[in-house]
């Protein structure tokens, strides 16, 4: 109902749609970009662009994979943009980057952060599949819909991404293998 009203140009129907999906979209953007301000920008832009294209959406299909696809494309493009690079340079110029103190994180949260760092060593395509399948906990079917690929491809890509992640962990994050691995 909300989608069909949105397609008819009723902007008031779009707000509940945004509210329903904003957390997932923001989180995916944050995982890709690693910057909450940029993630917020990308999330906003995702919903604005989605609104402009809502007329082309099949209302019988789930909306979230489509939104996540828009978000992924925008975030990946942003990550590679010169504008973002300049901003990153500015941050690097700070004497001491401010990161959460380790005392603020529980052991499980710390491990989650370290695993995220390991995932970020993967190439962008591998990162996407890991974020969608495991961090956002999408099903194979939902991931396939988001990436516009076959479910079998999602499975094989996931398998390869995990293999590469294991190699990254072995090389660069051996501490992740020291605990709870048995």
């Amino acid at each position: 109902m909300l989608i069909s009203r949105s397609q008819a140009g009723d902007a008031s129907a779009w707000e509940p749609v945004v509210l329903a999906h904003e957390e997932a979209v923001f989180r995916l953007a944050y995982l890709i970009l690693g910057d909450p301000d940029e993630a917020r920008d990308i999330a906003q832009e995702t919903f604005v662009r989605a609104w402009r294209s809502i007329g082309r959406v099949d209302g019988s299909r789930p909306l979230q994979p489509w939104l996540l696809r828009i978000c992924t494309n925008l975030a990946v493009n942003r990550r590679r943009s010169v504008a973002r690079y300049l901003a990153a340079l500015m941050r690097r110029a700070q004497a001491e980057p401010r990161v959460p103190g380790t005392e603020e994180l529980s052991a499980q949260q710390m491990e989650a952060q370290q695993l995220w760092q390991a995932v970020r060593r993967l190439d962008p395509a591998d990162q996407q599949i890991v974020y969608l399948r495991y961090f956002l906990d999408l099903s194979v079917a939902e991931t396939a819909e988001t990436l516009q690929t076959a479910q079998g491809t999602v499975k094989s890509r996931s398998h390869r991404a995990l293999e590469r992640l294991r190699n990254v962990i072995r090389r660069e994050f051996p501490m992740l293998g020291d605990e709870r691995s048995a």
Partner: protein, 268 residues
């Protein structure tokens, strides 16, 4: 973990994801709704608006005209003397200058979370000076002042309907801090706008018109796909030669920046 099979790694990832600490989701819906096009207003509404606009124009012609012309255009860079009125898409975050000089108001900086330093490794278009020269469509110039400057440490070239070349010199102490950066921007690629710099001074660089601006100021970077705004504290010298706009950002004084700018010469 290295000895774990894929199923165990999957489970570990799911557990980690469940404990992953995301930043709080910023209000998104309210901003999105403001950005959506408003429905067409009834005709009588437009008539009222038109009358109001005409009245406002009659009352406010001198200051309005002053505001309209109150900017300086140097190549692709437009500098406004005052802050923009409408809120940008994103809330500006105060940034350190593009130099190694720490910003005094660091408490106002955008929070940096447990994020790997990104940008350098992610940026597309890293290249060499020789390749940049082959692909820019204009003659790449590099500074030869100060004498110890040497060649840039990082060179990036992106084409957005026109080339943008970014040359970066890092501090020699190995800290990774930026000593100086120079953008060489072909017409039609990017547009930059600055709002309300602390200092705005017209200068000449090798006889070409230029502008010296000091921060903090709001810098807007725009091309066909992106539109970002950030508050920047830094000194920049902007000038043009032919169809290329140059923007030198550093912590140098105006005199020193001019020496750098006037030392630009083609690659050997």
């Amino acid at each position: 973990m290295s000895s774990m099979d894929p199923e165990q790694l999957e489970e570990r990832l799911r557990q980690a994801a469940a404990h992953f600490r995301y930043p709080p989701t910023s209000p998104i819906a309210s901003v999105v709704m403001k950005r959506l096009p408003r429905p067409a207003a009834p005709r009588w509404t437009w008539a009222v608006v038109a009358v109001l606009v005409m009245l406002a124009a009659l009352l406010l012609v001198p200051p309005a005209r002053a505001a309209v012309i109150d900017f300086i255009q140097i190549g692709v860079v437009r500098i406004f003397r005052t802050e923009p009125v409408p809120a940008p898409v994103s809330t500006p975050a105060l940034q350190a200058p593009l130099t190694a000089t720490p910003l005094a108001t660091s408490s106002a900086q955008a929070p940096v979370t447990a994020t790997p330093s990104s940008g350098l490794q992610d940026l597309a278009g890293e290249t060499t000076l020789a390749d940049a020269q082959s692909n820019t469509g204009f003659s790449v110039l590099i500074p030869h002042y100060p004498p110890d400057l040497g060649k840039p440490d990082r060179i990036y070239l992106q084409d957005m309907g026109g080339s943008l070349l970014l040359l970066v010199w890092l501090q020699p102490d190995g800290s990774g801090h930026v000593r100086m950066s120079l953008q060489e921007i072909a017409a039609g690629s990017w547009a930059l706008a600055k709002f309300g710099p602390q200092t705005l001074q017209e200068v000449t660089v090798n006889g070409h018109k230029g502008v010296w601006a000091t921060g903090p100021y709001l810098l807007e970077t725009r091309n066909h796909e992106y539109d970002t705004r950030r508050l920047v504290a830094g000194n920049s010298l902007i000038w043009t030669q032919g169809n290329v706009t140059y923007r030198l950002e550093s912590s140098l004084s105006l005199d020193e920046a001019l020496k750098v700018a006037e030392s630009l010469a083609p690659l050997p």
